[in-house]
Structure formats: C-alpha cells, structure tokens
C-alpha cells in the first residue's frame, strides 16, 4: 500500500471503494505478535506469543479474562521491534505513535467487554451469550469507521467463550466485521499457524481438552519459525464446560511443552507414522503414553 490522497481520514472512500484508514488499522493487527484460538465441542483454547520490548521489560499481557465463561486474546502493534520486517519495500503509512496506542485499545476493549458481562450478569443472573458480546463489540468498532473525528481500533480480538449454544471462537476486526471460527490465528506469522490448523481442524470438534492445548502449542511453535518454544514466550488460556476461563501458569505450560518435545517432533493427532519412524525405544514408549493414538 502506498501513501495516497484518500487515506487521510476514515470517512473518505477511495475511488475503487476502499477505506484506507480501516485497512491500515488491520495492518496494525497483522504486525502484532501472534494469537491463535481453537475450539472443540466443549472447550476453547487461546494461545499467544509474548514478545517483550527489551530484556529489561516484562512481557506484554495479551490474554484477558472477561468473565468466567469468556476470555479474549488481543493482537495489535505493540512492540518497537515488530516494526522491522524483512522483504518489504513499501513504506507503511502507520504513524509511529500508533504502536504505543494499540495496547491501550486492547485494554479499553477488555474493560468494555467486562463491563457488559457484569451488567448482564447483574440484571439476569446469567452469563452473557458470547455471540451477543461480540456483536456489541463489532458495533463499537464500526462506529469508529464512520466518524471523521475517530480512528479505528488498532487491535484484533480472538474472543473465546461458552454459552448455552456451545463453545465459540470469534475474531473481531477493527473494521467492525466479526466471524466465528473452529480455529484461527491473527498477528505476525499467523499464516504458518493457520496452515497447521487447516490440516487439523476437522478433528478439533471431538478433541479432548488436553489435545486442544497441545495443538495450540504446536500452532504457536509454527509461528516462531525455528525459535525455541518455551513457556516464557507463550501464554495459554482455556475455557470449557466445568472449567472457568483461566490462564495456565508457566510451569504447567513448560511441562506440556517438555512432554511433546521429548516424545517427538510431530503433533499427536494423525502423526503416528512419524512417531513410529523414531528409532529410540524410550522415545517411542513415551510417544505411546503421551500421544493419543488414532484408534
């Protein structure tokens, strides 16, 4: 995208029918570190990559609990380091200041979601259906695409939740669009995760909670492109039937990572061929314990 005369404010259409400011806002989401979500019939898992600005600073919080039955993962331009990317020559029109504003956007939207859930719970003593929350969230985002004195939110949200119609995963865009997914990924290098999820998603509906978490970790690993997967770079959160939304602690995540790192490189579902090709006795024994066999 080149800078052009139609991208000054959000209420100007381009001659081919585009709103550049909205598209630039979606670019901001693509620059953020990856967030992925996947769901089964009874559980939804959110996972994201945590990149710190520098060694001295703490990791960005990207997953927020909205209510016992809903949580959200946020992706948007958050770290200075993200701004450099290889292989692209076009100049981006995103102002430098935007990258400091988008985590604020995430915070504000989480607060709005929490508020809506609390108000609904207070009036009806019942959890707010996820579909209704994302609908309201989408309407809120749309307003910012149709007011000349506003700007679109610079974050994409993966909303995971449970209600009486089942487990849900939604993606809310700065454009005001939202879609429901079986599995999805947003943020930088999310395509790698999406490719992995596209291979596996048909099995997800019947997956157990633990398999879902394992698949989330594998998907995250895909986005790291060879970097070592440890619990200090990723965060996992789960919500499910009988399980309130909670973020897994670092030890648990590291234990899960160790489990499948030891048992082999490949993912547990549908990859029994790859596991058997590993010659080491200890490894294959561990593989049979750790990986659920596709019987």
């Amino acid at each position: 995208m080149f800078r052009n005369q139609y991208d000054t404010d959000v209420t100007t259409w381009s001659p081919v029918g585009r709103l550049f400011q909205v598209e630039y806002a979606m670019e901001a989401v693509k620059q953020g570190s990856a967030a992925i979500g996947l769901r089964s019939k009874t559980h939804v898992v959110l996972a994201c990559v945590n990149k710190a600005n520098s060694e001295l600073s703490s990791h960005q919080r990207k997953i927020f609990k909205v209510d016992d039955h809903i949580g959200v993962a946020i992706a948007g331009l958050t770290a200075v380091g993200e701004f450099r990317f290889s292989g692209r020559s076009e100049r981006r029109s995103i102002p430098i200041t935007l990258k400091y504003l988008t985590t604020a956007d995430g915070r504000v939207l989480s607060r709005y979601m929490r508020s809506e859930c609390i108000n609904y719970g207070y009036t009806y003593e019942s959890p707010l259906p996820v579909g209704r929350l994302v609908y309201q969230l989408a309407d809120k985002a749309q307003v910012c695409t149709q007011r000349s004195w506003k700007r679109p939110y610079g974050v994409g949200l993966l909303v995971a939740g449970l209600d009486e119609s089942g487990a849900h995963l939604y993606n809310n865009c700065p454009s005001g669009n939202y879609f429901e997914y079986q599995a999805f990924a947003i943020g930088s290098r999310s395509q790698a995760a999406k490719t992995y999820l596209e291979r596996k998603f048909e099995k997800f509906t019947e997956s157990s909670r633990d398999d879902l978490v394992k698949d989330a970790l594998f998907a995250i690993r895909e986005t790291l492109q060879g970097e070592k997967l440890t619990s200090s770079v990723c965060t996992i959160a789960v919500v499910g039937v009988g399980e309130a939304f909670n973020i897994l602690d670092q030890e648990t995540v590291q234990a899960l990572i160790n489990e499948f790192e030891i048992s082999g490189e490949e993912a547990p579902i549908n990859e029994s061929v790859a596991e058997q090709s590993v010659g080491d006795d200890q490894r294959s024994a561990a593989a049979e314990e750790a990986a659920p066999m596709d019987i």
Binding site: T123, S126, P129, G131, Y135
Partner: protein
C-alpha cells in the same frame, strides 16, 4: 424564590410515590413444581377495595418460550410489567441467535425492576411468581413490590402464604404427577375461597413444561358449607358482649 423553582421543577419527583395506593387488586397466586414442570393457580377476581368488581381478570400470563408469570396486587401495574416483559422478549427474539431468556433470567430482571422502583418510592404494587422450565431445569421464583426475591419448590403470594403454604409444606412432593398437582392446588384454592374475602370462585390453572404452556379454561370449585363450625360460627367464641 429558589424554593419555588425547586418545587416547580421537581414537583413530580418530590410528590412521586408519597401518595400511592393500589386500586384494582388481584389476590393470591400459588405456584408449585411438579414432575414435568410448574403448575400455577390464580383466581380471576379483580377487587376494587372491598367490592369484587371484575371477575374475568387473567392473572397468569406467558413470558417468552419458557416462562409463566402470575401476579397479585395492582392490576394496572401488572399490565405495565407485561409491557416491559413484552419488550424484553421482543429484543431477545430479535437477536435470533439460538439463545433465549429463561425463567431465571426473567425473574432476576423483574427483581431489578421492582427494587429500582422501590428505591424511587414509586413501587409497582405487585407480588409476582415466575415459573418455567428450560433445558430440563425447573424454576420457580417470587418477587415482591419491594424487591424481596427467592426461589422455592412451592410459592404463594398474599394470603396464599398463610393459608396455602402450610398445606404445601405438608403435602408437596418432588414427583407429583399432573393430576396430583392440580388436586393439591385445588385444595389450597378451596381453602383460600373459604377464608380470603377477596377470593372469587372462578379460577385458572396454568401448566408449563419443556414442551410449552397451557392455561386451563376458567372453572369453579365445589364448596361445602355444611361444616358444623359454619352452622354456628360463634359457638366457640367467648366474649363479654
């Protein structure tokens, strides 16, 4: 000068609710859980003070797909509550998303409404019973005009609390069949008919189950007045004159 201005602008709020009486009222509602859902009974009387003015007032109404509401107290306030509920259910249906408000949600919503009005010294002069079944779960709850709310296996409003609940405490069971439930309600309603001066002998019984709601046609209870105590009612009463 300022006082006059305050009075002028805030007259409504200042005077609001300070003078409030119910005019046309309904008497007790009785509700019980039974094997397949909820049963509720109410007579069809609307009293104007001590006059039984209206004899075909429907005090049991459906709310959405899953709930039933019965009201005692000021009938016009009940009609207003029905309007609020109508709008609530309308907006719920407009979402068109597979979610729907059940009896628990309706009960809590009404609790908030009643309590809010009480805080403004402008109550809706009703005692409400909300019952229903959703996803196999039976629900029976009550709200009063001051926002007091609770759930139970059997509930009543007004005189029903004094004349019907004791019977229910003795004779209610978890697994009542429909016929047994109706008989139990009729026993309670007959007792109210004898003893509550605002009761009329024309009642409806409503049944709500997972499948849906049915309200019976109005009918009357057989009464027996040949009790010895009724023959000579004052024989046991001692007095100085």
């Amino acid at each position: 000068m300022i006082l006059r201005w305050i009075l002028y602008y805030h007259q409504k709020e200042i005077l609001r609710g300070l003078i409030e009486y119910p005019y046309v009222t309904g008497t007790s509602i009785i509700g019980i859980k039974y094997k397949d859902g909820i049963l509720m009974a109410a007579d069809m009387g609307g009293s104007y003070g001590s006059t039984i003015r209206y004899k075909s007032v429907e005090r049991l109404k459906q709310v959405g797909k899953h709930s039933l509401i019965g009201a005692s107290g000021e009938i016009s306030d009940f009609q207003e509550i029905l309007k609020y509920l109508d709008e609530l259910i309308l907006h719920d249906n407009m979402w068109d998303d597979g979610n729907s408000l059940g009896p628990k949600e309706v009960h809590n919503y009404l609790t908030r409404v009643m309590y809010n009005r009480r805080n403004k010294f402008d109550p809706l002069w009703n005692s409400l019973v909300i019952g229903g079944v959703k996803n196999g779960q039976k629900y029976l709850g009550s709200v009063s005009m001051i926002g007091v709310h609770y759930e139970d296996d059997h509930l009543a409003t007004g005189f029903g609390n004094h004349l019907a609940r004791p019977i229910l405490r003795e004779e209610w069971r978890e697994d009542l069949s429909f016929e047994e439930g109706v008989k139990l309600l009729e026993k309670c309603m007959r007792n109210l008919l004898y003893r509550d001066r605002s009761a009329v002998n024309k009642l409806q019984i409503a049944k709500i189950t997972e499948e849906g709601l049915t309200v019976s046609q109005p009918y009357s209870l057989k009464t027996f007045w040949n009790f010895a105590a009724f023959q000579n009612p004052t024989v046991g009463a001692t007095g100085s004159w």
